[in-house]
Symmetry: C2
Subunit: 378 residues, 2 copies
C-alpha cells in the first residue's frame, strides 16, 4: 500500500471473495463484497489527513463534484456546500473518502446485487446488515487504502450512526468524530415511520416478496415510502414557509382528488423521482439497520466501550429536527462525558428540520472547519 | 316539532329528497341525504339545553354508551369518559346530540352510499364535501329536532373544525363553542400527511378508482394510511413511554422483515383493525375536507364574520399535539379577540400528543364542565 492517493471519481473495491467472507451481526457472512467509493484531495505522506464522510440513508459516495466537468455531468454532490477546496471540510488540507454503504444500491453490494450462488439478485436472500456491519466493511476499505488512523469521521442522520459506530468498533482508528443530526438509539417514533415506509413497499403487489424484476420495481409503494420520509426531513415551519397553503398552478380548489396544494405536488414529485434512483429492497434493509441501531442498550451499552477513549467529539444537533431531536444529542453527549470522553456540543438554531445538516449554513461550516483545525495532530 | 326528545341510540334522519337537495360548496348538490345520529339526556321544555358534539375524522355518532346493555353490546363510545350522567358533559343537565358526518361511513351519506341515479355506490361520483357542507347538513338535523339555538357545540380535531364552522355559518344558533386540539387553517404539514395517506390508498391496485366492491376494499393501502394517522396522533414522548424499543414477543432481534418492536406490531394491528370499520373512499373525502378547511384565507377570512358575535368560546390545546400545535390555537384566539369575541383559552400540559383530547383527564373534564356551567342562560 504505497501508492499515492489523490482525488478520484467513482471506484470499486471488492473483498471477501470465497471463504474470506465478511462476518455479519446476524450470524451469517457475506462475500464477495464490493464498496463503491470516491476520494477528494491528496493523502499526505504520513497518511494522517484522511477524513471519512459517511452518508445518510439514501445517499451515495458522491459527496461533492470532483471538477467542473464532473459537476456538469453528474450534478452537485449531496454535501457539495461542505466538502471541497477552501470549504468547511477543505480538500486542500484533507483527503476525503466516502463509500456507498453496504445494503445500498449505488455501487456497493446490496439486495439488488447478484447472489453468487444463484446468479440472480439477492432480494430477501440478502442477509440483514446492521450499522456495525456497514462500518466493518468500511474498515476493510480503509485498511486497503493503507490508512491506520482517520483524522476524522463525520456524517449526519444514518451517517451519524456510522460515525458513532466507528468510534465504538475501532476507537484506535479514529482521531475525531463529528456526528450530526443523529442519535445513539433509534426511537420508537423513528421506528414507526420506517415501519410504515416498509409496509408501503411490502404491500405493493409488484414487490413480489422482494423478487421484482429490475425494470418493474414496486414504484408506487416506494414513492409513498419516500413521501413519508420527506415529511420527516422537513419541519412544520419550513413547510409553512416553503409551501403554506399555496395552490399548485391553479386559481381555485379543484374539488377533485388532484394535487390542489404545492405541498402535495412537491411530495408526489419527490416520490416519483426517487423511484429512478433508489432500490425498494435497499430501503427495507437500510431502514431496518437504522431501527436496530442502539449503542445504549440496557444490558450492554456499547457507548460505554468508549471509556476514556482517544476520540475527540463534536456533536451537532438542529433545533427543528424532530426525527433526531436535540434531547437525543444531549443524551449522547452525557453518555460520552460519563465515559470521560473529550466532547463538544452545539445545537444550531435552524427551522428547516432534519434536512438542516445538508443545507448551506455558514455557522455549520465554521464550526466544522474550526473543530477540524483544532484536532491535535499526534 | 313538539315531540319530547330523550336518550336514543342510533337513529337515521333523511332529507333533501328529489329537488330539495343539499347545496354544496363545490357547486353541486346532494340528495337524498341521511344523517345517522344519537342523543343522550333529555331536551328541556324550552329546548335550550342541547349540546352538539362533533366527531373527528374517523369517528361516528357513538359518543358514549346509552346504558349498561349498550355498553356490553357495542363497547364504550369514543368520548365515553367525557359524556354521560355526572360527567364533564353531564347528560343529567344537557341533551347531547352527535351525528355521523357527511362523507363518512357509519350510517350517514357518503361515497359508499347508493347513488340514486345508478343504483351503485357513489365511489368517486360522490361530490367533494367541505367542513361547511358537513355543518350545513347538521343544521338541517338540528332544525328537524326543533332546536333553534344550541347551548354549546364541541369537538376535537376535525370535530373542532366543525365547531368553528358552526360559529361562522350559524352564529345565532350557537351560544357557546369548545373547539379542542384543532385549527382554523389546515397547515402544510397536515396536508402533507393527508396526501400521503390518500396516495397509499389510491396506489393500491384494489382501489380501482374508487369502484372497489364492498367485500374487496383496498385494505392494504387503507391500513398504511391508518398507520400514518396513528403516528401523528401520538407524540415522541408517548411512543417512548408506551413502546420504547421493547421487542414484541421475542427475546432477540429477528434479523428478518418481521415486527421486531412493539411499536411495529401496534401500528400493524391498528392498520389491520381499521379496515374492518372504515371505508377507504370516506378517508379520501374527509381528509380532503380537512385540507380545504381555512377560515383565515387572505382574501376573505371567514373568521372575521364572527365580529362581535354572540358566541362564547373556550379554546383548548395540548402541549404535545404536533398536528395542531398550540401556536395554531393561539392564532385562533387572537383572531377571535381581534373580532371582539368572548374567548377563554387553555393549553393543557399533556405528553400524549394529539390524542390527548380523547383521553381521560380530570383537568379537561373540570375545565369543560365549569365552562358549560358558566355559559349564561339567556
Amino acid at each position: 500500500m504505497a501508492k499515492s492517493l489523490t482525488t478520484d471519481s467513482l471506484q470499486y473495491f471488492s473483498f471477501a471473495e470465497g471463504t474470506e467472507c465478511l462476518p455479519l451481526d446476524c450470524g451469517r457472512s457475506l462475500g464477495p463484497v464490493t464498496l463503491a467509493y470516491e476520494t477528494w484531495g491528496r493523502l499526505n505522506a504520513d497518511r494522517s489527513n484522511a477524513i471519512l464522510v459517511l452518508h445518510a440513508f439514501s445517499g451515495d459516495s458522491h459527496v461533492a463534484s470532483h471538477d467542473q466537468a464532473d459537476l456538469q455531468a453528474n450534478g452537485p454532490g449531496w454535501w457539495e456546500t461542505m466538502v471541497g477546496q477552501g470549504k468547511g471540510i477543505d480538500t486542500n488540507k484533507y483527503f476525503v473518502i466516502c463509500s456507498n454503504i453496504l445494503g445500498s444500491c449505488s455501487g456497493s453490494t446490496g439486495p439488488g446485487s447478484i447472489h453468487p450462488e444463484t446468479g440472480q439478485p439477492y432480494g430477501l436472500d440478502f442477509p440483514m446488515v446492521t450499522i456495525a456491519d456497514m462500518v466493518r466493511a468500511q474498515k476493510v476499505l480503509i485498511d486497503h487504502l493503507g490508512i491506520s488512523r482517520l483524522y476524522a469521521v463525520t456524517g449526519g442522520s444514518v451517517g451519524g450512526m456510522q460515525v458513532l459506530q466507528w468510534c465504538v468498533s475501532y476507537p484506535e482508528m479514529v482521531q475525531a468524530a463529528i456526528p450530526l443530526a443523529t442519535t445513539m438509539r433509534h426511537s420508537a417514533l423513528c421506528i414507526a415511520f420506517n415501519e410504515v415506509a416498509r409496509q408501503a413497499i411490502m404491500t405493493d403487489p409488484k414487490w413480489l416478496q422482494g423478487k421484482y424484476p429490475e425494470d418493474a420495481p414496486p414504484e408506487l409503494g416506494l414513492a409513498v415510502a419516500r413521501m413519508i420520509g420527506h415529511i420527516t426531513y422537513l419541519s412544520d415551519k419550513a413547510m409553512h414557509r416553503k409551501f403554506g397553503r399555496r395552490l399548485q398552478e391553479r386559481e381555485d380548489l379543484s374539488f377533485r382528488f388532484e394535487s390542489d396544494f404545492q405541498i402535495e405536488s412537491y411530495l408526489n414529485y419527490q416520490g416519483a423521482k426517487f423511484v429512478h434512483r433508489f432500490d425498494a429492497n435497499s430501503l427495507l434493509y437500510i431502514t431496518k439497520a437504522a431501527d436496530y441501531f442502539d449503542l445504549n442498550e440496557e444490558e450492554d451499552a456499547a457507548i460505554n466501550r468508549l471509556e476514556n477513549g482517544p476520540v475527540k467529539f463534536l456533536v451537532i444537533s438542529f433545533t427543528s429536527d424532530w426525527l433526531y431531536p436535540t434531547y437525543q444529542s444531549r443524551e449522547l453527549v452525557q453518555a460520552l462525558k460519563r465515559n470521560g470522553c473529550d466532547v463538544s456540543f452545539c445545537e444550531i438554531q435552524a427551522d428547516c428540520g432534519h434536512d438542516a445538516f445538508l443545507l448551506p449554513d455558514q455557522r455549520l461550516t465554521t464550526l466544522i472547519s474550526g473543530f477540524l483545525d483544532g484536532v491535535k495532530k499526534e
